[in-house]
């Protein structure tokens, strides 16, 4: 696409800039001035890693980016440094996990998710490795059918972690069918909103009112999910797995034998010996079988589900037929008990393949063909949705501001040609998300100041991107930064989730346990999305419960104490030096004379009182300047 003509030819730095500038010039608006170096480095660190820069990183950047001629290369170097830091994947994985309604634990009466964290770690690694986005998409739908090593099966938890609903099998099939149909709908909803930015679930009951999506399209896709079931699958090849499987079955049988033996009445005379003998056999199997503790992936496997009456009409049976697939009948107004014609599994009719017809799904459940269609026939849409998501995280506003809703009921794109151009180049550059970050972060647009009174007045929603939108940190970034600034952040990556409520939990927030049934209140009050459904964007609220957390929670109090200890250690006993250090750690700048006077006023007469210092530290940690990025 040709670059639009602009009057201010000096301003653009990257191809996105002329598109934005041309629109501004049409509205007689000027871009905001470039942000200063301290603002840029703070913004950059939060955008890419979700953590504040250290004072040393700030000073090095400030030095490296002057004179002005060095600025762009200093930014490029910082972007490279941050994109190759592991913290980058941790930050961007969490955005993805919101879309994937990621959880570590589900309700006790539903299917267990024993190894969800391995999916979370897979996503982190995918971002850090810059796995091409088309691959990233396909693997989460069908990695087991792509000839990839079995270790990659953790990717399937995108499907395997779908919510399930309780099915009381004593109830008749017409009730259970409705529950199962709701589960299929959840799959279709999350898949279509995450990858395609389409609300396909609307078409369960009727043809989509505003988009070219029919009810038949819905059932054509839902059939794929009627042909899979949740399964824990091995992450090594059969040569390792089959012996492990056999050994695990033997262990289960032995454990059962032992438990029954223990229950026997009267107890056999040599019970202790018998139990010991069984335990020895179990231990032998566990240690003698290579990879006995092999991780299992929370995944799906192909198996068609039929909901049928039990024998003698006593309730319902979920009849899974492994390896088989099924096409669904169209359900009138979404009611599984009022069915119409069978709809063969296929991709959406709005995205025909080369032969003019939507791709048919004929291999197994059709997961692989579905995945292929998403990144081939629907590539322009699929890529556009992801480009817009990344854009939105960098600018605080999307080109389409309803990131999972690209249909006609969603927000119209503010800069359609820009989105087209960036998407085309994203695909051309191998669907590389790191390439996309560089295109955006090195642009003049992204480097604008957030202070632009004229633009704020004329365009409060910042649809023209004629300034940077001021953004609030999400809870993860705020908690992580609090820990990092206090010097207590524990940086080990990955592994099993641990509860955030524990005062020993000093890891990044994305490693805190998320329970779908009972979301941790600390997360709930801080706008963490409900993990029972795809979340396109977080709702931002400022509530009293959040502020009570800032004022009185043991977490923030402990971190305030730790920050004081760090100030003392790094800046010595003098008040001015400590306050200066605190501003450098938290705000990446020295305090003003007024701020020094305020601190002095607050601490006068209490300079040696640790509690007073802790209050001072807490006020800084809870302040707006800590929580917002200019």
């Amino acid at each position: 696409m040709p670059s639009p003509k602009v009057r201010n030819a000096k301003w653009p730095q990257k191809p996105i800039d002329p598109f934005l500038l041309a629109a501004m010039e049409r509205q007689s608006t000027q871009p905001a001035a470039p942000a200063d170096a301290r603002t840029i480095i703070r913004r950059l660190h939060f955008d890419l890693t979700g953590l504040a820069p250290t004072p040393e990183e700030v000073e090095a950047f400030v030095e490296g980016s002057s004179p002005a001629g060095n600025r762009q290369s200093a930014i490029a170097a910082a972007v490279d440094r941050l994109l190759s830091s592991p913290a980058y994947g941790e930050r961007w994985a969490r955005y993805w996990l919101d879309l994937a309604r990621y959880v570590d634990e589900t309700a006790s009466w539903l299917e267990k998710t024993t190894s969800a964290h391995l999916y979370r770690d897979w996503v982190i690694k995918a971002f850090n490795d810059d796995l091409p986005y088309d691959q990233f998409v396909m693997r989460q739908i069908a990695t087991d059918q792509m000839g990839l090593p079995p270790q990659d099966r953790h990717a399937l938890a995108f499907l395997g972690l779908a919510p399930t609903y309780w099915k009381e099998l004593q109830l008749p099939p017409d009730i259970i069918k409705a529950t199962v149909a709701d589960e299929w709908e959840e799959h279709v909803d999350t898949l279509s909103r995450t990858f395609l930015g389409l609300t396909l679930a609307c078409a369960r009951c009727h043809d989509h009112k505003s988009d070219p999506i029919t009810a038949a399209d819905y059932y054509a896709i839902a059939g794929v999910f009627a042909s899979v079931r949740h399964a824990e699958v091995p992450t090594m090849g059969d040569e390792f797995w089959l012996p492990v499987k056999k050994a695990r079955e033997s262990v289960a049988a032995l454990e059962k034998e032992r438990d029954e033996l223990k229950k026997k009445k009267p107890a056999p005379a040599d019970l202790t010996n018998q139990v010991a003998a069984i335990d020895q056999k179990i231990a032998g199997l566990k240690t003698g079988t290579p990879h006995f503790n092999m991780a299992m992936a929370t995944a799906v496997e192909d198996a068609a589900l039929f909901v049928i009456p039990a024998a003698n009409n006593k309730g319902t049976v979920l009849d899974f037929k492994p390896g088989q697939a099924r096409d669904l009948e169209l359900m009138k107004r979404g009611d599984p008990n009022k069915t119409g014609d069978i709809v063969p599994r296929r991709f959406l009719s709005a995205f025909p393949a080369k032969d003019g017809q939507p791709r048919r799904f004929t291999t197994g459940s059709g997961r692989l063909e579905l995945a292929q269609a998403i990144v081939q026939e629907a590539a322009p849409l699929t890529a556009r949705v992801m480009v817009n998501r990344v854009w939105r995280h960098h600018f605080g506003r999307g080109i389409v501001d309803t990131p999972s809703e690209f249909g006609l009921t969603g927000d119209a794109p503010s800069h359609p040609e820009l989105l087209d151009d960036l998407t085309a180049r994203f695909i051309k550059n191998g669907w590389s998300i790191k390439w996309l970050h560089r295109e955006i972060l090195l642009s003049a647009a992204w480097q604008q100041s957030s202070l632009a009174p004229d633009s704020e007045k004329r365009d409060p929603e910042n649809k023209l991107f004629a300034r940077m939108s001021r953004r609030r940190l999400d809870f993860e970034a705020w908690r992580d930064t609090t820990l990092a600034c206090a010097g207590t952040l524990e940086r080990s990556m990955g592994g099993v989730a641990t509860p955030l409520t524990s005062d020993k939990n000093l890891r990044r927030t994305l490693y805190g346990t998320v329970n779908r049934h009972e979301l941790e209140p600390m997360l709930r009050i801080h706008d963490f999305p409900d993990p029972a459904a795809h979340s396109a964007a977080r709702t931002e609220t400022a509530t009293a419960l959040q502020m009570l957390f800032s004022l009185n929670s043991p977490f923030l109090l402990a971190q305030a104490d730790a920050l004081v200890a760090r100030m003392e250690k790094e800046a010595g006993p003098m008040l001015n030096a400590r306050v200066t250090r605190a501003h450098a750690i938290l705000f990446q700048r020295p305090p003003t004379a007024k701020e020094l006077a305020m601190a002095t006023g607050f601490l006068t007469g209490r300079e040696t009182d640790k509690k007073a210092w802790s209050q001072y530290a807490q006020a800084l940690l809870a302040s707006n300047e800590t929580q917002f990025v200019d």
Partner: protein
């Protein structure tokens, strides 16, 4: 410099935080919740669609499924045909446990006697003798039905209108529709000793902004999380807040007038107020002995439904918009498969007196006319059972009773009827969506217009259904 002077110098001349500064400086001139909320406050009072009859709701949820035929729905035929055989329709049979599926069941007479009550002569059983004294204030809806006969789903149904999907709770919808009258307390509060079926999803705001979610209050010394001031002395905290306010004010002034920044400053102010307002609301020491006696609450106790009911009245007085009390939780509840007489009897003794006390207390204070009290449960229980000696009853979503009282409903009436045995709705069925539509109507909200755009469409509490039950409106 003394503390007060320090504070003056830190926070003086603030234009943004007059309310906060008043309190910080001990010059509190305003009553609870009278501060004008900022324009950006998502909890600011909203204008209803039309003039409301009720300003707030107290919803009493009995967890587990209360037997309608033993309480509010008098079926003399059950007495006459006690232990007479009943051929259960095949569909209904499948709702029974496997070992309980013989097609011939036996009608079971109510465990408690019924008699007409009050001037209205509503028939109510001896299970709830004290609430029955308020019969002339009650509007019994005897034709309720729900979409599911399992606890988890039915509980979600009565709260959110959806038995499977995650949807906002009715309390969240009301908070979203009307905002709050007291900025120092949450708009939607749930007092529940333990988690109900479906857990916190019952009061979740889901796609509505998070400030509309229910604040879960657990009876006991720490009802609201992080509410306890950690500093020993309010003045110390005031100094710290003064510092915070000053920092935030300087930050804001350097950035024009960003509503997000202002909203957070305002929320700090609310939190500061809540530290005082919430403990004050939860402190019963100033309630008289007579009030304690009325509710049947021992002084100093936080136990039982009596504490929950008295707390509901106090929160209602303080402007909380939607107050939900959950009796028991996901176990040890009204789910009386084995022994209705024993279980229902024991549980009713815990709630009956306090519910009656709540109605009388609200009425005595002139609050019943604009407070809608709703009593509900997720489903009823079967009028029959498998064996002649069976003492329990099974789940029954096809027909059950809820009631409303106060704000805008007719008192002393019953609406809808079940058949002569209480098996199925016979006249004027009220689906959960109708129930919700009516509740919103009483608050001045049109359920078809109270919408929120999410995932490409406008969602409502009542999905695409629901009719206001006009006949019960006063």
């Amino acid at each position: 410099m003394n503390r007060r002077a320090a504070l003056q110098s830190l926070a003086g001349n603030s234009l943004l935080l007059p309310g906060m500064l008043c309190e910080l400086l001990g010059e509190d001139a305003r009553g609870a919740g009278t501060a004008a909320p900022a324009l950006t406050d998502p909890l600011a009072p909203q204008r209803p669609h039309f003039v409301p009859k009720a300003k707030r709701v107290i919803y009493l949820h009995m967890s587990g499924g209360v037997s309608h035929v033993d309480s509010w729905d008098y079926k003399p035929r059950l007495v006459a045909d006690h232990n007479q055989p009943y051929q259960v329709p095949r569909k209904m049979l499948e709702a029974f446990a496997e070992n309980n599926r013989s097609p011939v069941k036996f009608y079971k007479k109510p465990v408690w006697d019924f008699k007409p009550r009050g001037q209205s002569g509503l028939w109510i059983s001896e299970l709830f003798p004290k609430t029955a004294e308020c019969a002339d204030d009650l509007c019994l809806i005897r034709s309720m039905y729900n979409d599911h006969a399992d606890h988890a789903q039915a509980t979600l149904g009565i709260h959110t209108g959806s038995v499977n999907f995650t949807r906002p709770s009715m309390g969240s919808w009301v908070s979203y529709g009307l905002g709050t009258q007291n900025a120092n307390l949450p708009s939607f509060m749930v007092i529940a000793p333990v988690l109900p079926y479906s857990g916190a999803q019952v009061w979740a705001s889901d796609f509505l902004p998070g400030c509309h979610q229910g604040t879960h209050v657990v009876p006991g010394p720490n009802p609201v999380p992080n509410i306890q001031r950690r500093l020993p002395d309010a003045e110390l905290q005031a100094m710290e807040l003064g510092l915070s306010a000053a920092l935030n004010r300087r930050h804001l002034l350097a950035r024009g007038n960003d509503p997000q920044l202002a909203a957070r400053i305002r929320a700090f102010e609310t939190a500061f107020g809540m530290q005082a307002a919430a403990p004050e609301a939860f402190d019963l020491s100033k309630e008289s002995d007579a009030t304690h006696r009325l509710y049947g609450l021992e002084r100093g106790s936080t136990k039982g439904f009596a504490w929950q009911c008295l707390m509901a009245r106090r929160l209602a007085e303080r402007g909380v918009r939607f107050i939900e009390l959950i009796d028991t939780g996901a176990s040890g509840n009204w789910d009386s498969h084995g022994d209705v007489g024993g279980d229902h009897g024991r549980l009713a003794r815990n709630v009956d007196g306090p519910i009656a006390a709540l109605l009388k207390d609200l009425k005595g204070r002139g609050m019943l006319s604009d407070t809608l009290v709703v009593w509900g449960t997720e489903f009823g229980r079967t009028p029959f059972n498998t064996a002649k000696d069976a003492k329990g009853r099974e789940h029954h979503a096809q027909a059950f009773t809820c009631w409303m009282a106060g704000g805008g409903v007719k008192g002393g009436i019953s609406y809808g009827e079940t058949d002569e045995y209480g098996n199925a709705v016979a006249v004027n069925g009220v689906h959960v969506h109708d129930f919700h539509a009516t509740l919103l109507h009483l608050l001045g909200l049109d359920h078809t217009r109270l919408t929120y755009r999410h995932a490409g469409r406008d969602f409502r509490l009542t999905d695409v259904q629901g009719n206001v039950v006009q006949d019960i409106l006063a």
